[in-house]
Assembly symmetry: C2
Homo-oligomer: 406 residues x 2
Amino acid sequence: GVDSVRLWNSLREVSAFGATAGGGLDRLALGDHDRAARDHLVRAAQERGWAVAVDPVGNIFVTRPGTEPGAAPVLMGSHLDSQPLGGRYDGTYGVLAGLEVLRTLDDAGVRTRRPLVLADWTNEEGSRFSPSMLGSAVYTGAHDLAGALARTDHAGATLGGELARIGYAGTPDGVPRRLHRALEVHIEQGPVLEDEGVDIGVVTGVYGIRWYDVSVRGAGGHSGTTPMSARRDALVAAGAVVRSVSELADALSPELRATTGEIVVSPNSRNSIPGSVRLALDVRHPEDAVLDRAERAIEERTAEIARASGTAITVEPVLSQPPTVFDAGTAAAVRRVADRLGLSRRDLVSGAGHDSVHLSRIAPTAMIFIPCVGGVSHHESENIRQDWAVNGANVLLHTALDAARE
Amino acid sequence: GVDSVRLWNSLREVSAFGATAGGGLDRLALGDHDRAARDHLVRAAQERGWAVAVDPVGNIFVTRPGTEPGAAPVLMGSHLDSQPLGGRYDGTYGVLAGLEVLRTLDDAGVRTRRPLVLADWTNEEGSRFSPSMLGSAVYTGAHDLAGALARTDHAGATLGGELARIGYAGTPDGVPRRLHRALEVHIEQGPVLEDEGVDIGVVTGVYGIRWYDVSVRGAGGHSGTTPMSARRDALVAAGAVVRSVSELADALSPELRATTGEIVVSPNSRNSIPGSVRLALDVRHPEDAVLDRAERAIEERTAEIARASGTAITVEPVLSQPPTVFDAGTAAAVRRVADRLGLSRRDLVSGAGHDSVHLSRIAPTAMIFIPCVGGVSHHESENIRQDWAVNGANVLLHTALDAARE
Ligand SMILES: NC(=O)NCCC(=O)O
Ligand SMILES: NC(=O)NCCC(=O)O
C-alpha cells in the first residue's frame, strides 16, 4: 500500500500554495500560486528522474516508463487549480494521490509493462477562464487550442498570455497519446459516502452541465432624483432572474441543480441605479431532456421578466456538456480492487464535472471517490480524513497497477 | 455677464480628466484623475494670483480678496469628483461656473466689499468613500476629521492616505471661516426644468437621505453536488431584499426613492453557491416620518427573508441625513436675480444630496439649478446645453455679487 504519512504530508505541503486565512485555497488557474504548485510537482518528478512534458495548453504530464516499448500508457490525473475560495482537496488530492502511487511503485522497485502517466490538467475549475475542464478538453480534442489560449479572465488577461508568464506554455513534444485507460481519484464533493459510512464511491457517470451568461440591460441614473415609476433597474430585473433560476427544480425535477454563482453590476455605486448586470448560471441534471426543458424555461422566464421590467435580457449558452456514462469494464475493475482491499463501496453519479468526462471520450475511464466532511466542497471548509485519503490512493494504486499489466 | 465661450471650453477641458469611452467620467474622489482636475483648478487660480488653501480633508479654497479687511466671505462651491460611471457636469459644472464668475469679475476690474471664495469639496459623490458630501461635512463640523481620514475604499485604501498620495493633505491655514452666504449652482439631475422649459430652478430644500449596508450570510458550496433543498444561497436571499426595497414606495409613498445600487458576492464564481452577499441601499424622501417607516419596513422584510431562506441578514445604518430647508432670504435673492436677467424660474426640492446641505447649517445658503437633458444624471450620457450653462453662471455671478456687496 501507499505511504500514508508521506501522502498526508504532501497534501499539507501543497496546501500552502494559495492558502487562505479561512483554511482553504485561492489558487486560480495560472496565477502565481498555481505556478508554485506546478513547480512543486515538476520538482517532485525530477527528483525521481521521471520525464516531464508540458503541452501547449499547459497540461503537465509526468511519465514513469514501462518495460514494453510503445505500449499505451495508463493515465492518472486531476488538477491543482482551485475556486477563488475553494478547498484544499478538490483536484489536488487526485494529483498528489497519483504522485504517491508513482513514488510507492518506485520505492518498491515495481516494473510495469505499460508506462504510468500522472497529469495535472489546466483550468479545471473554470472560475478564472471559462469553461471548466478546459485543459483536458483541449488534450482530447473537444476544444480547439487557439480558442482556449484566447480565453480571457475578468481583468482581460488571456489564458495563453498567463501560460507564458508563469512558464507553462509547452509544446506537443513528449506528450503521451493513445491511453490504455484513464483513472481519477477525487473527493465526492457530496454527502452520500460519509452519510452511509462507505469508503469508496465507484463513479458510473456525471451529470450533464449547461452554463449560460445572462446580460440584463436597463437604464442607469441617479438614485435620488429618478422616480420609481420612471426606472428600468437592471438589478431588480436580475434579482427576478436569480429567483426564477433557484425555483427551476421545483417545476422540473428534484435532481435538477440550478445556480446563479456570479453577478457583476455596472456601475455598482450605491447612489447610481444599476444600468446593466451580468449573471453566470450553472444548470445540471443527469438527463439531457430535462436540461432541454430547463433551458426553455430560462428563456421563457427571462423574456417575461424583460417585458415586465422594461429591460433587455439575453441568455447566451457558454457550455453544454452532455451527461457522461463511464466505461463499465474500468468501473468493474475499481469494484474488484475495493473488494480485494476489504473496502466498502457503492456506485455514484457525480454532480460535479471532472477532467475524466473528457478523457472518457478517448479512453476507457474510471473515477474513484472518497468521502468529504459534510459533503462540502467549493468552500474553504472542505475537509477529508487521513484514512479516507489513504483508502482512495490504495484503490488508485492497485487499479493502475492492474491496468498497467494488462 | 460671463464669457460663454470660456465657460464652455473650460467644461470641455476638465472633462478630459477621467473621460470614459462612453462620453462620461470615471473620476472617483482622490484618484489620479481627481488629482489632475484639482491641479487644473489650482493652476487656474495661481494664474490670476488668487490665494489657494487646502484644508486637512482636502477641500480646496480659492479666495479673491474683498476691499474690507475681515469681512465674512461669500462662498461658491461644488465638487470635481464623479461617480464610477458618471457624467461631465454633476459637480464639475458648479466649480467651473464659480471659476468663470471670478474670472469675469477680475477681467472687468470689479472690486467687492467681501471676499469671494470658490470651493472644491472632497468626496461629494460618496461612491469611493462613504458617506457622500464628506468634505463639506468635515468643514462644517457635521463629521469628525479623524473619522473621515480613516474611511476606506473597497481596496482598503484610506481617505487620509489617498490625500497624502495625491498631494492634497492640507492644514487649517488660510481656510476661510464665518461665511456670509453660500451658493451652489448645479444641474437639476431630474427632468422638471427641461420638461417645463424653465431656465432656472430655485432649490428650496433637499430630500432626507438614509444609507444602509445589508449583509446576508448563507452557506457556500458546490453548485453541482448540493441539492436545492439543502441550500442556503445568500444571493437568492439578497435578490429578495433587492425586490422588497424596490417595492417600498408602493406601500409607503410615491415620492419615496429606494435603491440597491451595489452588490458584492462572495466567492462570485459560477460553480460555487454564493455564501455571502453585501448590499448598499439608498432611501430618500422629503419627510423624516416616511423615512422612519421605510426603515422599519426594511428591518421587518429582511427579518422575514432571513427566516424563510435560512440565512442571517443584518442591516446597518451608515448615513442618516434629515430633510433640509434652505434659507428663505437667500432663495429670494436668487429669484430676484433670475427675474432681473429675464430668465424663467421655478422652485424645486432636490432628490440629490449636495454640499450645500452641510453649508446650510453654518450659513444662509441657496442652490441654483439648471436643466439637464432627459433628467439623466449619475450616468455617462448626462448632458447640458451651452445656453443653460451660461444662464446658471450668470445667476450665480449676480447673486454672488449682490451678496458680496451686502
Ligand atoms: N470537480 C469540480 O468541482 N469541478 C469543477 C467543475 C464543476 O463541476 O463545475
Ligand atoms: N448631487 C449628487 O449627485 N450628489 C451625490 C450624492 C447623492 O445625492 O447621492
